[in-house]
């Protein structure tokens, strides 16, 4: 296996005494669809939080490509390092239209002065149109994002993340509230984008995980409980006990 794009060493996140993440070692391989599952409160979202800089690790180190120490950087600097993240609850710009949302998300110089003189390039226009097609928001491109349905918002936010052309994509429950059809669409999209970047996904939908995961990490009480393929995960007794429960066991059996 090639060397990891992202490596966490002995990371602890402590919320006034409560360790949401506890001595976690964790690695993400390039161009892989890497799922993180685990009980509610296991620390999955917090894991994404420390990687993207929203929460600062109490101790431990987070290294990008073995070199860059992330925990020192601010959120926006981390983004420019090539890490983009989608939040658990859709967070988009209600008062901007769908297309505006994508426009400000897209990869470009984002410092003050290059922004003042920012101009549309045809290539940018093209990119955004492709993206609109891809996530099927073409029809609503001029609608206020605030007026989209929950599912549509999810798609928009995924699109915003992709517009940044990151090396590592962090998705927190991207298919929450999506119907079967859209789940599959999302899944295909993820496989597609994972061809040239790493995708780290937090998800609870086992069928979905099973279908698209290259590798699955199971978190429990802030630590890594198990790592491997979905089959291995489902066979693991502790994972079943703390997380999966009976139904999934059944369809593992048959």
């Amino acid at each position: 296996m090639s060397q990891a794009v992202l490596k966490l060493k002995k990371v602890i996140v402590d919320f006034s005494g409560f360790k949401a993440i506890n001595q976690l070692d964790f690695a993400v391989q390039p161009t892989s669809v890497h799922f993180v599952i685990g009980p509610n409160g296991a620390g999955k979202t917090t894991l994404l939080d420390v990687v993207c800089g929203k929460t600062k690790a109490t101790t431990g180190e987070i290294k990008l490509q073995e070199r860059k120490e992330l925990s020192k950087l601010t959120e926006d600097q981390i983004v420019h390092q090539g890490i983009s993240r989608k939040f658990q609850a859709p967070s988009i710009f209600q008062n901007l239209t769908v297309i505006d949302n994508l426009e400000i998300s897209m990869k470009q110089k984002k410092n003050l002065f290059s922004m003042i003189k920012a101009k549309w390039t045809n290539e940018q226009k093209k990119k955004i149109n492709e993206m609109l097609e891809l996530v099927g928001l073409k029809k609503v491109q001029h609608q206020q994002a605030g007026s989209l349905a929950h599912g549509q918002k999810q798609w928009l936010e995924i699109a915003m993340v992709l517009m940044q052309e990151p090396d590592i994509v962090l998705l927190d429950e991207p298919i929450a509230g999506m119907s079967k059809k859209e789940r599959n669409k999302t899944g295909e999209l993820i496989t597609k984008i994972a061809k040239d970047r790493a995708v780290l996904i937090v998800e609870h939908d086992m069928d979905f995980v099973k279908e698209y995961a290259d590798i699955v990490s199971v978190m429990h009480e802030g630590q890594l409980l198990f790592e491997g393929s979905m089959e291995e995960v489902q066979k693991d007794p502790t994972v079943r006990e703390v997380y999966l429960g009976r139904k999934v066991e059944e369809n593992v059996v048959n």
Partner: protein, 229 residues
């Protein structure tokens, strides 16, 4: 118990649900499915009174509540679990539950709530806003249950919840159904889950009911056809 006639509602000029008729009987679990953005949440929001219908009527226990305030609907025994949790972030978990009691007439949180969702006891003193997504979802459900509502509106209650707890929620719903006369309208994306709890299924598309059947007559492929058009 709850009967909706010719309901039309939406946001400003945009009509989202049109001509919805629905009848929910005592102790019946109705399930609503539909693709994203067809108006499921809007329907529930209109029933609880966040949105006010442009047309049509809502009767609850043969009383017209079409124009009643949400609070009075809640007082009449309608419980609501919104999509996206809507926890009170700076109230502790316990206080969140106490607010849930406002609708009912009992004064303290029933122990069986903690049996359903143990973490709520462990985290009683933590701020609701600090909970994880799934924990918040559990809190939202518990908050609706504490007042023993006679009618429950559940908007995708299993969203973001770990599988084994999803099963528990499933059990909870069944349990409530068996132990009380409570009726429910349940918005859900997972057909298996629906079949295991519901009595009757509606599929909505573009704000209209396009398919309805008692659950035992529901054919998966028919449903999926509507869900994927």
């Amino acid at each position: 118990m709850l009967s909706i006639k010719g309901l039309e509602a939406g946001y400003e000029e945009s009509m989202v649900i049109r001509e919805i008729d629905m009848d929910v009987k005592e102790n019946q679990v109705i399930c609503v499915m539909g693709r994203n953005g067809v108006g499921k949440s809007t329907l529930l929001k209109t029933i609880i009174g966040i949105l006010h219908p442009k047309k049509g009527s809502i009767h609850y226990q043969s009383e017209d509540i079409t124009n009643a305030r949400s609070s009075s609907r809640a007082q009449k025994g309608i419980g609501y679990v919104p999509q996206g949790r809507e926890i009170f972030p700076k109230l502790t978990v316990y206080e969140n539950l106490l607010i849930g009691l406002e609708a009912g007439n009992q004064k303290k949180v029933d122990e069986k709530i903690y049996d359903y969702f143990p973490i709520l006891k462990d985290f009683a003193k933590r701020n609701g806003g600090d909970l994880s997504g799934g924990q918040q979802q559990q809190l939202a459900i518990a908050r609706a249950l504490v007042s023993n509502p006679s009618f429950l509106l559940l908007d995708e209650p299993t969203e973001g919840i770990q599988p084994n707890i999803v099963q528990e929620i499933q059990d909870v719903i069944v349990d409530i159904k068996n132990t009380s006369a409570t009726s429910m309208i349940l918005v859900e994306q997972n057909l298996d889950f629906v079949k295991s709890v519901a009595d009757y299924l509606y599929v909505i598309d573009h704000g209209l009911v396009v398919y309805e059947n008692p659950i035992d007559q529901v054919k998966d492929d028919e449903v999926y056809r509507y869900l994927s058009v």
